[in-house]
């Protein structure tokens, strides 16, 4: 297999995959190291040039998406279900979980100063957070953490892409 052939295969893999596909996963299939895969993906992205598509890196994987400047046109088609707006309470709760995970509901509520159960429910329903275990404390409360879907929906490569925490400075 030549690199040009590999490039075509990789494009097909990313297109067909349901979720973002990591360089490691692609490498295992086409039997190339991650560095080469990354370079080939970059090549595909460049070749898209002035076309409608581009490749983005989210949740540690590649995904073929339409270019952002097409959004106003695509939105005339309809609004994607997954992109329904999040409430301010849900976004705040999500931010706390993203930084402080694993975290319990009581700890979240202490930071926010208000009850947060409905925000947690909506985040769970949308698959942006999940239960990651139980805290070894009285009542063994549920611990929450963010999911890969969270990274994907927020266009984040990994959790490290969040701005550095600077509390109390």
């Amino acid at each position: 297999m030549t690199l040009a052939e590999a490039r075509v295969i990789i494009e097909g893999l990313i297109f067909a995959a349901e979720q973002p596909l990591s360089a490691k996963e692609i490498g295992a299939i086409v039997e190339l190291d991650e560095g080469t895969v990354e370079a080939l993906v970059e090549d595909i992205r460049k070749r898209y040039g002035e076309g409608a598509l581009t490749i983005r890196l989210v949740a540690g994987g590649y995904q073929i998406v339409t270019k952002p400047e097409l959004a106003p046109w695509i939105e005339k088609l309809g609004r994607p279900v997954v992109h329904a707006p999040l409430s301010a309470a849900a976004t705040e709760t999500l931010a706390i979980i993203a930084y402080e995970q694993p975290i319990t509901r009581a700890e979240i509520e202490q930071i926010r100063g208000v009850r947060s159960d409905s925000a947690l429910t909506s985040l769970l329903e949308r698959g942006l957070i999940c239960e990651v275990g139980r805290k070894e404390a009285p009542g063994r409360p549920i611990l929450y953490g963010v999911t890969d879907l969270f990274l994907e929906h927020f266009g984040l490569r990994s959790i490290d892409e969040l701005p550095i925490k600077s509390i109390g400075q």
């Binding site: 997954v82 705040e92 100063g113 929906h153």
Partner: protein, 246 residues
Amino acid sequence: MGYVVRLEVYQGPFDLLLDLIAKNEVDILDIPIAAITEQYLEYLYSLQEKDLVIAGEFLVMAANLIRLKSRLLLPQEPVAAEDEQEAEDPRRELVEQLLRYKFFKEAAQYLEERYQAACRCFTKGQKLELYNLTPLYTQPVGDLTLDQLRAAYERLLQDREGESPVHEVYSPIPLQERIALVRLRLVGKPRLKFRDLIQEWTPGEIVGTFLAILELVRLGEIRVVQNSLFGEISIKPSTWELEVKA
């Protein structure tokens, strides 16, 4: 789950406080508690005037602020002079909480921006909520006018006035006597079925006997077991059980 109706702009007491601090252009590390407390309470009063229910958390914070304000008004005890450490600022805990909340509020704004940006890229085959779907309830009340609705409601109210209740439960025997009757029936018996206690099967007797049983359970005199929904209720005297075990 009930409906969530959001009328206030603030996410919680911290949100409101941060906004007041920003509006007053004061340093978060040196909050003028008296002025901020006053404005905080004013906001709550304005909610009250609009007949809105104030969430409990806002009231807890109001109490905290008032407590803080009174602590700051009292002269400091000179005990701290002996200590090397400076007397602790009573506002410290609140400031820490506010700073922490402020950080996450800003982080939420950052996430919101990321979300908006990420929303502009579409993957293939994404489920779209098409706009041209016909809404199910475009005219939920049809051609009904407000006057007609009002007339219909008034008619309903009139109809109801003369109606007698569907169920009327009346017990000629007071609860205390019912309890006495149940106690009497239980004497010397290891267990009893609820149906054995009922003789006439009138609603008054059934309800009265059932209340008597609940009262006896509360007093700890009997234990009640029902193995399935709407199943037979068996009644055991607690004392009997104790005797058997002994």
